[in-house]
Structures are given as C-alpha cells and as structure tokens.
C-alpha cells in the first residue's frame, strides 16, 4: 500500500508528486497510474509529465494555472477508484550477443556466455524511466544471476544500439556516448527514430522482451 503522495513545488512551473523514497514496485506502479490518469484527463495549462521511479514531475504554464490548482486536479485524479495500471505495450527488441564484455560478464557471474545470453533473454523487462541521454530507456527486470555493479571506469564512444547492463537494469543505447555499464551485444531494432511518426519505441511502463538474432 502506498501512502498519500507529497507535492513538492518546483520553481513557478512544476510539482513533484512523490509516492515514496524507496525503489519499490508498488511505488512505481502508483507513479505510472497517475501519469496515465493525467494523460487521459489533463488540466488547462498542462505542459508535460516526467515519470521516474518514485515520483512524477508535473510541469505547467504558470500564466494559466498555479501550484494550488494543479495539486487540486492531481488530488482529484488520485481519488478516482484505483483501477489496475494498464499493463503497457509489449515491445520486442532483437539482440546480437556479440558485445566486448560478454566473456567478462560470464566470468564474473560464474556462468558460460551461453548461460549469460539465456539469462538475459529470460528477463521480464519494464521501461522504468528515461534518463542520461535522449532515448535512454532504463529497463528494470534484469535477472539476478547477471546483476553486476558498474565498471570502475567508463568507456568512451560506445556506439548507438549497444545492449548494456548494470545495477539490475538494461539499456539499449540510442547515441554514441560513454558508459560504465557492461556491453553484452548490439540491437538492430530502432529505439529512437528521429524522423518517424513515433520517434521513441518505448513509453515508460511498456514491457520489453529480447529476442536473439544473428548479425
């Protein structure tokens, strides 16, 4: 059971709605429920909502509304009967398991590379939040046997499309950026298509399944 959320003001244009301070599934589910309810029933002056693990940043136009009125609208949404959060679409992402760190992940996990691949494929992933860089969707649900801390130092210039894991999460990268996560493969599935009608494959809350492909 989650507690009544806290509303924390953010400058003249935001309210951070906080459902807890620890990473728990019920807390994140409450964030997603409010995010969905707000998308279905926005208030005048609504600008955007940014979901994360335990809170939702609701941004608004201060020329149209203010913190008190936005909080009242959100309270009304929260009072609605708590239907189950929508399950989120299932997205399939192809992976070629040819990453430079695959062997080291296997060695550190006490597994063969084949077992690392099978373990990664067995995960039930969800898009927890976006962060770090455009299109970087943090996928929760990495299976325990291949949970490793981040590497000591980041590697520069890791190409877009890399499948990287660390700290219980997985990301399919969308830009060439540095990373300290373990690179286990690459994906030919477009995650960020800047000119497409739907530039981002995932929305927060979506479920993700990986599928092994060769080259």
């Amino acid at each position: 059971m989650t507690q009544a959320p806290l509303f924390r003001p953010v400058a003249e244009h935001g309210l951070l709605v906080e459902f807890g301070d620890r990473l728990e599934e019920a807390t994140h589910a409450a964030v997603l429920r409010l995010d969905q309810a707000l998308a279905a029933d926005p208030f005048p002056g609504f600008a955007e909502a940014i979901p994360a693990y335990v809170n939702l940043l609701v941004r608004f136009d201060p020329l149209v509304t203010d913190h008190v009125r936005v909080a009242a609208h959100l309270q009304a949404l929260l009072r609605q009967p708590a239907g189950a959060a929508q399950a989120g679409a299932l997205r399939t992402v192809d992976v070629v398991y040819d990453g430079p760190d695959l062997a080291e992940v296997a060695a550190l996990s006490g597994l063969t590379t084949g077992q690392v691949i099978a373990t990664h494929l067995s995960g039930a992933y969800r898009v927890a939040l976006y962060g770090f860089a455009p299109g970087y969707a943090y996928l929760s649900g990495l299976p325990d046997p291949i949970r490793l801390p981040r590497k000591e130092a980041a590697i520069r210039g890791v190409p877009a499309g890399s499948v990287i894991i660390a700290a219980g999460q997985c990301i399919v990268t969308t830009l060439t950026m540095p990373t300290g996560w373990w690179i286990i493969g690459h994906s030919p599935t477009p995650i960020l298509d800047p000119n497409g009608p739907r530039p981002f494959l995932f929305d927060v809350g979506d479920r993700v399944q990986f599928r092994q492909v060769t080259a």
Binding site: L57, G131, P134
Partner: protein, 316 residues
C-alpha cells in the same frame, strides 16, 4: 537564391539554436534551445521571423563570418557583445544587412555571456526531433559552428532599417541579474537549516565550468546531510543540484532529464535567461520565494517581455 557565409572563426559552444524540443523530457530529451530564450526571440521578431526560428547562438568564444554570396538582413540581440561589421564597430542589439564581401564579427563586450544572430531567411541546418536546436552532448540538431565551415541562408530577405546598424532597444529586464529567485527544494530535506541559510546568505559566483548543460558555482560547500541513496528523479531546467562533494551546479538548457543528486532549490524559469547572461567570475545571490510569489513573478515578467517583444518589429 541563397546567401552563403563562410565561418572565418568560431569559438567553442557556438551552435545553431531554435525554440527547442518542448515536451520530450519523458523520453530523456531536454528542451535545449537558447540559453537566453528572450534574446533569441527578440532577434527573430526584429526581422519579422517567427519567435523560435533557427539562429546562431554565440558564446564568449566569439564568431567571425564572411559573406561570400548574396545579401541578407540580420539582427543581433543578447548580451553587451561588440559587433564589427564592414569596418564599423557598434554594440549588439541592432538590425543591419550583410552583403557579399563584408565581414561580421561578434565578440564579448562589457556584459553578457550569450548573443544571438538571426537572419531574415531560412538558416540551413539539420533538423533532429523536429528542431534545429543543437543538443551539445550528441551534436544532433543544427550543429556546432566550426572554423572553415559555411552557413547558408535560403530565401534571404532585405528588411528595411533606418540606419546602417539600426539599434534595437535593450531594456533592463534582459540584463544579467544579481538576485536570482528560486523556490526551495524539491530535495531540501537533504540539507540542514544552516546550509539552507547559507544558500540564501552567501555570495555565489559563476565558475569557469560553464557549458550548455549547466554551470558549477563557486561558493560555500553544502554536502548533503544524508546518504545519497535517492533513486533517480525527474530534473527541471534551473535545478540547483548538489553533488556528494557539496558543490552546487545550476542545470541549464541541455541538462539531463533525470538524476540522483539532491536539488536544494530550483531557479525560477522567469529568471533563468538573465542568470545565463552572468559570466564566469560574476557574483550573485539566491533569493528564496514561495510558490505563489514565483507564479506572480513569472506573470509580471511575461507581461513585460510580451509587450516589449511585440514592439520590436515596429522599431527598426
């Protein structure tokens, strides 16, 4: 018909910017766009362009362009930069026309950190996620300007102006601000009452660690009073984020959209353009305001800006 400009010199952090990419933060995409949004809008509106049209954002590194072909009117706004155009020296905040063979240089003057060069025409630059704003970490969008490159202006227009370098008004509310309004939090619970008093009482300075993602501040160290175990949270432009070493950073146009460091305060968006015009080494203070005061201030500033911006197209 195109006006072609050669980049004889471009300092670091000189890039194409437009109104940016609002509404994509939930996908990890910051809005980007100009560090001083008011100045970019002013330069565009002075030429009759849409307020958010693509412009060149000039940093303290400066810029020199040579017009190789064609002719095009331009407007310059933002910061007290110095402009040299066809051998004449003047201040920023002007409308003029650049003709083939002429050289235009913008460099830092008495005040300000960012200056905007708008053209009466369509600045040719790549679009990414529906915007030509350059996202500095990836380089996507219109892109950074580099020495030796060219800038093409399609469909260049000549805009009538009264003098060769017709001045634009530069009102006090576009100048750097020494008293920066902020609301407390949203993670003020990580800080002691003494630290929050120090936030407001101290004289802060912009450090040299200043780019489009943010500016590190010189001032008191405010190490968070609790273990840094907060899960990553959404982050707003203007957040005053404090890392484990106690150094405060104000997040700006290209900030990351989520992060795990506590934010002791958030600078009002209405003061952020003027904050960004402070230079490394310049001093300011924070003034904490209530959410209701923040909204009232934003509405007042919006009225002033809207009235002024609406007048610009008529003042050449």
């Amino acid at each position: 018909m195109t006006a072609r400009l050669q980049i004889r010199f471009a300092g670091p952090h000189v890039s194409v910017q437009d109104g940016g990419r609002p509404g994509l933060a939930r996908f990890g995409v910051p809005q980007s766009g100009p560090m001083d949004r008011t100045a970019l809008a002013a330069a565009n509106l002075a030429l009759g362009n849409p307020a958010g049209a693509a412009c060149i954002e000039v940093s303290l590194g400066g810029l020199t362009l040579e017009c190789r072909e064609g002719q095009v009117s331009f407007a310059i706004a933002g910061g007290g930069f110095i402009v040299e155009h066809a051998g004449r020296k003047s201040g920023a905040w002007q409308v003029a026309t650049l003709r083939a063979g002429e050289i235009l240089t913008l460099r830092p003057g008495p005040w300000g950190a960012w200056c905007y060069l708008a053209f009466a025409g369509d600045l040719q630059a790549p679009t990414w996620l529906n915007s030509r704003a350059t996202h500095s970490q990836s380089g996507f969008g219109g892109g950074k300007l580099t020495t030796g490159g060219t800038v093409d202006i399609a469909a260049p227009r000549l805009v009538p102006h009264l003098a060769p370098d017709a001045p634009l008004p530069c009102p006090p509310f576009v100048r750097p601000l020494r008293e920066i309004r902020a609301t407390l939090g949203p993670q003020d619970r990580f800080f002691t009452p003494d630290q929050i008093a120090a936030l407001e009482g101290a004289v802060w300075r912009m450090s040299g660690a200043y780019d489009r993602m943010g500016v590190r501040l010189s001032g008191p160290k405010l190490p968070p009073d609790a273990p840094l175990d907060m899960p990553s949270e959404p982050v707003a432009r203007g957040s005053v984020q404090v890392a484990g070493d106690g150094v405060a950073t104000v997040l700006l146009a290209d900030h990351q959209t989520t992060g795990g460091y506590p934010k002791i305060a958030t600078v009002l968006d209405a003061d952020l353009d003027r904050f960004a015009q402070l230079r490394p080494g310049e001093a300011f203070q924070f003034r904490l305001v209530s959410p209701a005061e923040a909204v009232a201030h934003a509405r007042l500033m919006a009225r002033l800006r809207t009235t002024w911006l609406a007048s610009l197209g008529r003042q050449r």
